[in-house]
Point group: C2
Chain length 209, copies 2
């Protein structure tokens, strides 16, 4: 089985916002599809270790900002490359709240979809949520960005990502997509993250303390 | 709620093949996403009235051909605009069988994914299948076609689709995507299919007999 064949599935890129009694937060996800009409239902899949996944289990609803082709890497980095456990992602970021109280962004976004979870299924690494759409609004006429656009055009090329020369020793590699850590100095060029399936170029070095 | 906001979700386009003891068949679908790793699992959603949906419920597995940007409208039309109940779709069409005996096509296809259903959930209009990937293979280096590519570049524009002048009276309109029939002479320009959510341009006239 060539697991890279799975990369040929097409996705969008979304900011997924949720709330608990304590706080609001959001993450970046690429998995959302409409799965039924009348009523309209969508499915999303989230890594169980993801903080927003835990929030959605608690609050039972979410807001999905559909990012458009104008989205910057900074926005993806802000919502996707750090955890809501560690930072208040909306502290210095303009946002609105939907009718369920979940946060969404309007900038770089062509539509927002609000939904309430009707069922969830634990699939081991991920939880699949089926949710009924309670509200949906078009925010701009710009085309939605695809995950392929993100990989090919928005994400900095490996050369630009290269960390500044460091005297420190590399002791491991961390997947920037899901956080998986491989604790060895060398990262094989054809390495694929065993957790989320992303390639070596999505890993960043972990330096000795 | 503006249901057109749901059109901003991104999808690929796939030929979904299945078998029963009696026959093999396939349909076109746009809904497939990876929902878990270790083991790799994917989700697909199919209209309950779709023949391939019934076949997958019976056989418990399927093969998914990931169409690439070279796909022709004829291929989509062949697999998507007629039912396996009425025609043998693979009769004059080159295909292979995967290890589970399900048919897939290699032409205009960049990858094939074989999967076995591990659970299904009836969502009213559709059934959502979760399936474990049993095999996956890259067939070409061409990029996968997106559903937006299909809508914007592959599907003939309305002018080209216009039926030849007919003396016959139009008595209704049929959605070419899901088969829904609206039995009235006029189709409002902003009409949206109540079953699959597609717009007026995806309807074709039904003439009096």
């Amino acid at each position: 089985m060539d697991s890279k064949a799975l990369f040929s599935l097409s996705y969008g890129v979304f900011i997924l916002g949720a709330k608990t009694k304590a706080k609001i937060s959001a993450c970046v996800t690429n998995t959302c599809m409409q799965v039924a009409n009348d009523p309209v239902r969508i499915a999303i899949s989230l890594l169980n270790r993801n903080y927003t996944c835990q929030m959605i289990k608690e609050c039972g609803s979410f807001a999905l900002s559909v990012l458009d082709k104008s989205v910057s890497f900074d926005t993806i980095k802000h919502f996707g490359f750090q955890s809501g456990r560690d930072v208040e992602k909306f502290k210095d970021f303009e946002y609105s709240l939907d009718l369920n109280g979940n946060p969404y962004i309007k900038a770089e976004t062509c539509a927002v979809i609000s939904a309430k979870v009707i069922s969830s299924q634990d699939l081991g690494t991920h939880t699949l949520f089926i949710a009924e759409v309670t509200d949906a609004e078009i925010l701009s006429s710009r085309a939605p960005v695809t995950y392929a656009d993100y990989q090919n055009e928005i994400k900095p090329k490996p050369a630009a990502q290269k960390p500044a020369q460091s005297e420190k020793k590399i002791i491991g590699w961390r997947c920037k997509i899901c956080g998986y850590e491989l604790m060895q100095a060398e990262l094989p060029a054809d390495y694929v993250c065993p957790l989320c399936g992303h390639p070596a170029e999505d890993f960043e070095p972990i330096y000795e303390a």
